[in-house]
């Protein structure tokens, strides 16, 4: 049972464009949603996170939009840079305990 779904599986954008990565979940008890960024050959690293009491979280060029009613969230990367090319994992948990990860979105930013 896949509780966290991500789309698209892969995404290609041009430098300067906004990349939009989508995530949805099923378990209504989930209240914490971190996004992790993983470069090839490295472990994932926390990029940005949001709690269900908020509908938006911004950190520089990265913004999470959260819709609790629809159980959906999205990560927007504005002014995309080639260095943003990586795999992005959406995760969901009740608190910080044992998050459930999505299958990831592979992002490629062309210069």
């Amino acid at each position: 049972q896949q509780q966290v779904r991500q789309s698209p599986q892969s995404l290609t954008v041009w430098e300067g464009e906004t990349a939009i990565l989508n995530c949805s979940y099923e378990d209504s008890t989930f209240n914490y949603f971190p996004w992790y960024q993983q470069f090839p050959g490295e472990g994932p690293a926390l990029l940005i996170s949001i709690r269900s009491v908020s509908d938006k979280k911004e950190d520089g060029r990265f913004t999470i939009f959260f819709n609790k009613r629809e159980k959906k969230l999205s990560l927007h990367i504005t002014d995309s840079q080639p260095g943003d090319s990586a795999t992005y994992f959406c995760a969901a948990s009740e608190g910080n305990y044992k998050p459930t990860f999505g299958k990831g979105t592979s992002l490629v930013v062309h210069p």
Binding site: T87, Y97, G102, G104
Partner: protein, 110 residues
């Protein structure tokens, strides 16, 4: 500052041979520890988690075992490797915070 160290960085092992991967966390007491497996370009599959020394919970059965001999150490092992064990093994810790992953161990079973 907390640090997480995984060893070895990479391994090439023969089918049927034993395996031991290690993970050490420094600068954090009583962390929750996790082992994840990731196929090339694939999703993160949680294998084991441990809340305290000597206690390990299995999440999936992959002919692997884990142990936590010390508060800051987490070991993943098997006596007989399978081809399907190839992949990227990640250790992670959390304690009242987000997950912090190690740099991983790349395993190729031939």
């Amino acid at each position: 500052a907390q640090t997480i160290h995984q060893w070895p960085v990479a391994e090439i092992k023969a089918v049927g041979s034993p395996l031991s991967l290690g993970c050490t966390i420094k600068g954090k007491s009583s962390p929750n520890l996790y082992w994840y497996w990731q196929a090339t370009g694939g999703t993160l599959q949680q294998l084991f988690y441990s809340i305290t020394v000597g206690q390990v919970e299995s999440v999936v059965q992959l002919n692997l075992s884990a142990s936590r001999p010390k508060d800051d150490q987490f070991i993943l092992s098997t006596e007989k490797l399978l081809l399907s064990h190839s992949g990227f093994y990640l250790c992670a810790w959390s304690r009242d915070s987000d997950y912090t992953f190690g740099s991983g161990t790349r395993l190729l079973v031939i």
